[in-house]
């Protein structure tokens, strides 16, 4: 079976762990629990006619005191940049992580995931920003780890990109 490593990257408290939990176990918890180091999960998906085992690296969130070490990214075939729509600065963090990731492992497929779509009325990031990013060629997905909206689609979309890449 094809195996692919995917890294979940983003600022702290954007919902990386919640997205993985929703995707792998279909569960969600409102309680925020920070991730230390890396949590690893697996899930097999079918893309086209191929089964792909995804190895999901849920890496601790970046904050002003703690940068994500690029050594964790080795062997990644793709990654998500997770953004919390209610916190505008998490988009900036996502792009910094994109630059560091490309510096470490080169250009591999990635998707911009705007999470917390269930509280979109509280977003600081407006629809136009998302449209502009799409217009610039980025793959943009709105998700809610809470309701599950867009989660499966995001993982399948990245899997497809990795197989094409």
């Amino acid at each position: 079976m094809i195996k692919k490593k995917i890294c979940m990257l983003g600022a702290f408290s954007v919902g990386k762990t919640s997205l993985v939990q929703q995707f792998v176990k279909s569960i969600f918890s409102d309680k925020y629990l920070t991730t230390v180091g890396v949590k690893i999960d697996k899930k097999t998906v079918t893309a086209g006619d191929r089964d792909v085992e995804l190895l999901l690296w849920d890496i601790y969130g970046e904050d002003e005191f703690q940068k994500v070490k690029t050594s964790y990214l080795r062997g990644a075939a793709g990654y998500f940049l997770i953004i919390d729509g209610t916190r505008g600065d998490t988009l900036e963090t996502a792009f910094k992580l994109r630059d560091r990731t490309e510096g470490a492992i080169g250009e591999v497929p990635f998707i911009l995931v705007f999470n917390k779509a269930d509280i979109e009325d509280e977003w600081e990031i407006d629809g136009k920003t998302l449209e502009d990013l799409s217009g610039d060629g980025f793959t943009v997905v709105r998700t809610s780890a809470k309701t599950g909206m867009g989660v499966e689609e995001a993982f399948l979309s990245l899997t497809q990109k990795m197989l094409e890449g």
Partner: protein, 338 residues
């Protein structure tokens, strides 16, 4: 090699390594297993064989070999068994060593600190948004729309001060995350009624809020707006108490002072950060009344009392001796039971 004596090295080993279930794999540059030892089963590595690719036994290291770096450290990685491990990879003449050390305790320790730090950062962001929302450009724009220009002008307003009693002493005893949480809960209980009654939050100074009524045009007089807001603030704080007491959380009291009259209003500050400035006797008086108010008490001046119509019966006369004001001052008090 270290010049430390063998007993010292053994002591260091016992102290810092022994309880961390050390285990290793020795691999070739491409990751082919050559040798192994230690408590590999702790990390879900069973029956490795000479010549096996490392990823067959340690899936998380798939794609890591051949290694570019001289050494690599992967901290607190969850292994197959769920045990958190520090993985160190380094080269010697014999080959590439992959060392596993149990990091469960370290992860738990870091987790507590990181959780607090992140929660504090989130609270800090929320707090600064709150300040920006009520004190930033919105106020300046609102003031421009309602006719207050950069030059000062006189306006009849009611000024309300609400202070959280005992907050300073509380904040010295508690950790910062708890303090911010509590402060946010109380500030929200104070600010919302002010906005609902058409007031403007002028300043949040630590644990005290200064609000002004009468800047935006309204059919309701500023004294009535301010007193109605004060009643609602007390009501909100009492509800908050019930909620927090039910959860066995700390509670604090508030005191409110209100005074009405002509004040000079103007916009001060730089272009990007313009804020309202109110100067006048009523501002000082409201602050003094608030400082005299007991817990759950609203103290208002005579000007305010005269214009609150049917709400007058809720107040009783109170003669106060205030610092900086000659003679006793006629004020009116409304106290709420806890």
């Amino acid at each position: 090699m270290s010049d430390l004596a063998q007993p010292v090295l053994e002591f260091i080993y016992d102290l810092s390594i022994k309880d961390r279930s050390p285990a290793f794999l020795l691999v070739k540059e491409d990751g082919e297993i050559q040798d192994w030892g230690g408590k590999l089963e702790t990390y879900g590595i069973t029956a490795p064989g000479k010549g096996d690719p490392i990823e067959d036994h340690v899936q998380i290291l798939d794609g890591f070999f051949p290694l570019d770096e001289e050494r690599l450290h992967l901290a607190c990685i969850e292994t197959e068994t769920g045990v958190s491990a520090d993985i160190h990879i380094f080269f010697t003449g014999k080959g590439c060593w992959v060392l596993f050390l149990d990091a469960t305790l370290e992860e738990a320790r870091q987790s507590v600190l990181q959780q607090r730090l992140n929660e504090l950062c989130l609270l800090r962001d929320k707090h600064s948004k709150l300040l920006e929302q009520y004190l930033g450009k919105d106020i300046a724009e609102k003031l421009v729309q309602t006719g207050v220009r950069d030059a000062e002008e006189s306006k009849y307003v009611s000024v309300l001060f609400a202070d959280i009693r005992g907050f300073t002493a509380y904040s010295e005893k508690k950790d910062s995350a708890e303090v911010f949480k509590l402060l946010n809960a109380y500030l929200a209980a104070i600010i919302q009624p002010v906005l609902d009654e058409g007031g403007t939050v002028d300043k949040i100074i630590g644990e005290a809020v200064m609000a002004i009524f009468g800047i935006s045009s309204s059919e309701v007089t500023p004294p009535l707006q301010s007193v109605k807001a004060a009643f609602r603030i007390i009501g909100n704080v009492q509800s908050l108490h019930k909620e927090r007491e039910a959860q066995r959380q700390d509670t604090l009291e508030i005191g409110i002072g209100i005074a009405s009259g002509q004040v000079l209003l103007g916009i001060m500050g730089s272009r990007n950060r313009r804020t309202l400035s109110a100067i006048g006797h009523s501002v000082n008086l409201a602050s003094l009344l608030e400082s005299q108010a007991r817990s759950n008490e609203i103290l208002i001046d005579q000007h305010t009392f005269q214009k609150i119509g049917k709400h007058q019966h809720r107040f009783t006369k109170a003669r106060l001796k205030l610092r900086g004001i000659e003679g006793p001052l006629q004020a009116f008090s409304c106290e709420f039971e806890e």
